[in-house]
Symmetry: C2
Subunit: 287 residues, 2 copies
Amino acid sequence: MSDIDTSKIIDGKAVAAKVEAEASAAAQKLKDNGIIPKLVTVLVGDNPASQMYVRMKHKACERVGIAAEDCLPPADISEAELLDLIHGLNEDDSVSSILVQLPLPAHINAQTIMNAISPMKDPDGFHPFNMGNLMINEEGLVPCTPKGIIRLMEEYNVEIKGKNAVVVGHSNIVGKPMAAMLLNRDATVSICHVFTKDLKLYTKEADILVVGTGVKHLIKADMVKDGAAIFDAGITTDATGTYGDVDFENVIQKASLITPVPGGVGPMTIAILMTHVVKCAEMIAQK
Amino acid sequence: MSDIDTSKIIDGKAVAAKVEAEASAAAQKLKDNGIIPKLVTVLVGDNPASQMYVRMKHKACERVGIAAEDCLPPADISEAELLDLIHGLNEDDSVSSILVQLPLPAHINAQTIMNAISPMKDPDGFHPFNMGNLMINEEGLVPCTPKGIIRLMEEYNVEIKGKNAVVVGHSNIVGKPMAAMLLNRDATVSICHVFTKDLKLYTKEADILVVGTGVKHLIKADMVKDGAAIFDAGITTDATGTYGDVDFENVIQKASLITPVPGGVGPMTIAILMTHVVKCAEMIAQK
């Protein structure tokens, strides 16, 4: 690793800490006015990975000074019962934000549940109303991972307007909202995915490359433009270690900026989530 | 024009007539069950172009067998009064669809008005909830022009999945929803616009090219890939005639399929609108 220029490495942990400090200050301001931002996490069943994610979110709330509450319905809760539960949380003015941890059991339609959360209490930004506002350049509550990547671009002065941006992966959570945010900032945006026939044709022209596929080391050095800014939202853990979607050690030689995995995009997601919980509380206060 | 292969020309009028016939049959089915699909058009003030567009929509309703009603508030109606008017139409079960003709006077925020229309009564598909559903591949009521283009692709057996699709123009009405629809059908999608530095770099790779910019003859033959399918949603009328965004006479030499202007994409927009009015009536009937 001695030939790596560490000045190219984006420090996601440091920016996340800065974002959390901002969220903390905004939360304090609300609390000074008697408003306590509160996140309710809904975890159906006992999936260990989901439990870990929820724990991480609660810890972040603690750091930032946001109240966090567990809601733990059993795995066999019916869709109708879960909807009732969500409706109750929507109507409870002490609840700023509702986060339903995915995945849900197979007998529950996740989209039906997402759509039931009040768009005003949706810190994940997954509600179609919030997604639609993102699409028409009225960004409010938006998905946290792409928003975190935009914040990294801002912190590292990555110019977006007029640049060739390529997003690899077209998930509803990362790829599509990422493309929308880059388009809102006037990049020329290409969205590639598993059905793309010649990925390199696109990635080679990218001034900005965002990858979120979960395919270990999908992006090699010969696929990347000299001087590109590269953001890696993928993470794969196997017996030999933890990897991103980008072949970091080789790609960094060509990049001007690059996020490591871990410590790049990852920490931003929860930090942005915290700002959204505060934003929800502010919106409720303004009602 | 003698060297033009007319078999490459997409007949938008014929497909639009087919779509209107389908809408008419579906409307008849509803009427047989005592449900009358009804479109209310809201035209604020007396902009002559807007009056013409509204008239065209009413004529289409007549052809299809849909009731159409004019709502003609004066140009000085306040935003609050217009909102009240929309709310009244939302609550009126005899009204299937509400279409607010744009542009609105400067003292009224168009987005506020769009957001006030019930997403269930939104045949234009502009409501953020409907846009968001489009984005997450739950297409319901979607913008009519891009939907019309998708229908042309279907009628002419244009394969979308895995193809390189390029959309030129990033408006909320054409470009962005077009990109979302192509992405939902697994094309690799690039969105270019006025800030794109090297448009040809993108258009030259396009198997499918959709253009909606309003810039006369923006797309020249040397910017187009051999065998591309080309859809032109632009229209410019000047002293010498009516033109699309594509230099039709030269580009057709390279294209496998191409829409003319007029008579290509244009007729599809209103035909799709008619299917949406019927769809709204069906949704209300199912409530």
